[in-house]
């Protein structure tokens, strides 16, 4: 517990009668990079969405950077400042330019002066390799570019933790690589804590410190990528891997 930056203890969640998360226990160390996989409907997205309170858990304890997530707006907002999130469908703001999307959080939430926020935004746009798109609107960019903008938008808040919720699932195949490349360089260069829900097993092998396999709302298995992909311990994991990895 001591150096865990995210910790979930006996977390449960129901949608009506449907038990989405069953007794989840997870400790994430600072700087650790975790890939979460599992069949659809296994609760993996719900789990990471609980970490920044986009979903509310019903029992158990979630702690982020030493602060417990409870129903207190100020505390939730404080935690959201520390946690960046990248969505499957980007969720960029279509009425703002790329640059305006990026400086919105820093100027309004972190109260940075506009010039400083813009300089930072340009730095991250260069990092995701699209500085020349700064003055376009999201609707004028390709899916892969939009997702990279979304990554840059999260980074502009200089979060301690990044959550990725199936960041490449909505992309055309030829754009998946450009987004994954950005994520790989982010993981390898910055040592940022990352939790990534994805089916990109190549990405998992390359950067993950730990792979977590979920099914039916439970963490079924976890381990180092080599160990998990090479020698899965449970039938459910074996079955899942045989369907995903050809």
């Amino acid at each position: 517990m001591s150096d865990a930056i995210v910790s979930l203890q006996n977390v449960n969640k129901w949608y009506g009668d449907f038990h989405v998360l069953r007794n989840i226990n997870l400790e994430v160390a600072k700087g650790e990079r975790i890939v979460i996989c599992g069949p659809s409907g296994s609760g993996k997205s719900t789990m990471i969405r609980c970490i920044n309170r986009l979903e509310e858990h019903q029992s158990g304890v979630i702690q982020v950077d030493g602060t417990e997530l409870i129903n207190d707006l100020r505390r939730i907002e404080a935690i959201r400042r520390e946690v960046g999130m990248v969505f499957q469908h980007f969720n960029l703001f279509p009425h703002l330019t790329v640059l305006e999307n990026l400086v919105l959080g820093p100027t309004w939430v972190l109260k940075q002066p506009l010039a400083q926020a813009e300089a930072l935004a340009m730095k991250y746009l260069e990092r995701v390799r699209i500085p020349d798109q700064a003055h376009k609107y999201p609707g004028q960019l390709s899916g892969g570019q939009q997702q990279r903008v979304a990554i840059a938008r999260s980074l502009c808040m200089t979060p301690k933790i990044m959550l990725f919720d199936e960041p490449t699932s909505a992309l055309d195949p030829e754009m998946v690589k450009e987004v994954l490349d950005v994520m790989v360089s982010l993981a390898l260069e910055s040592r940022m804590t990352m939790l990534c829900v994805t089916h990109e097993m190549g990405f998992a092998r390359k950067v993950a410190d730990r792979v977590i396999f979920m099914d039916h709302g439970e963490i079924v298995e976890q381990g180092k990528p080599d160990q998990f992909f090479g020698n899965p311990q449970t039938d459910r994991a074996r079955q899942f891997l045989s369907q995903v990895v050809h």
């Binding site: 400042r81 999130m85 703001f93 009425h95 959080g105």
Partner: protein
Amino acid sequence: MSSTPPTAAPQLPFATARMSWRRIRESILHSPASVLGTVLVVWLILMAAPALLNWLLLKASFTAPDARTCREASGACWSFIREKYRLILFGTYPFDQQWRPLLATLLLIGSIVVTGVQRLRGRGLIVWWALALATVAWLMWGGLFGLTFVENVRWGGLPLTLMLSVFGIAFAFPFGVCLALGRRSRMPAIKAICVGYIEFIRGVPLISLLFMSSVMLPLFLPEGFSIDKLLRAQIAIIMFAAAYIAEIVRGGLQSIPKGQYEGADSIGLSYWQQMRKVIVPQALKVVIPPLVSTFIALFKDTSLVVIIGIFDLTQSAKAALADPAWSGFGVEAYLFIGLIYFAFCYCISKYSSTLERSLAREQQASPGR
């Protein structure tokens, strides 16, 4: 903002003519039913046009010195308008002071145009309006810097209509947005108040609200305390329009996908920051057309204040008709004010479609969810 150069391909005159002939054939002569429709419409126009033209222009009287000679002409009596336009435009405002409401009107229209072309934004615009409204108030009331004082019961005509509309829109719009947000609030008390308010106001005609404000409200106020009649009517108009604006804006809010809220949540924006920077701007853009319809309706609905005896444009037209020397020219009077109303409404509507197009051009393709 980049503007694309207009595609002005030079065309030969007869090529253009042939093109337009083809367009005519395609749009009004493409099936037997449309041929029949076209013939019918053309026949109706041919029947009506000469009589209309005669009445409006050819046999109309423009220069008759009094009503009797005017009546002898079989067409419209535009002399009536020439005689009475100042009464219609400015109501019972002291005759020799009518340059003041004229200036006020021009200033109001100018301020609306300045807002519309978006040359001034933010603080500059607020300062502009503050100065403009102060000047309008000074011109209309007077009593300072050498202008004689004019009570607001003597105000009338076009400036009054414009003021009721401008203040109506300026206050009803933010109020309506707040009501719409309140109706979607998770806090039950706020939601209940907003729903109750909106449903109550929408269930009551504007006329009855105006009556209530002018007849009933004074009964409830303590003795010796009274709110100006004009102000009461203005408040009734604002309250009425806000409820409709709220429902329109609510429709826009509901069209914003959940992902926008989550995206805003994820970068830590508070509720009010989300609404102000992310949700409401997008929602308003969606509802520009119905919103403008409401503004136009509000502009025309200000004419209902006649029933509580306020001298707006419609009422002053009626007053002009009440002159026994010039009685019986109702059609001309109402055509005249109709034209004024039309000019304003048409400009509002044109402006809204320009605005929509420029906003659409900015963003081109609609983005992912």
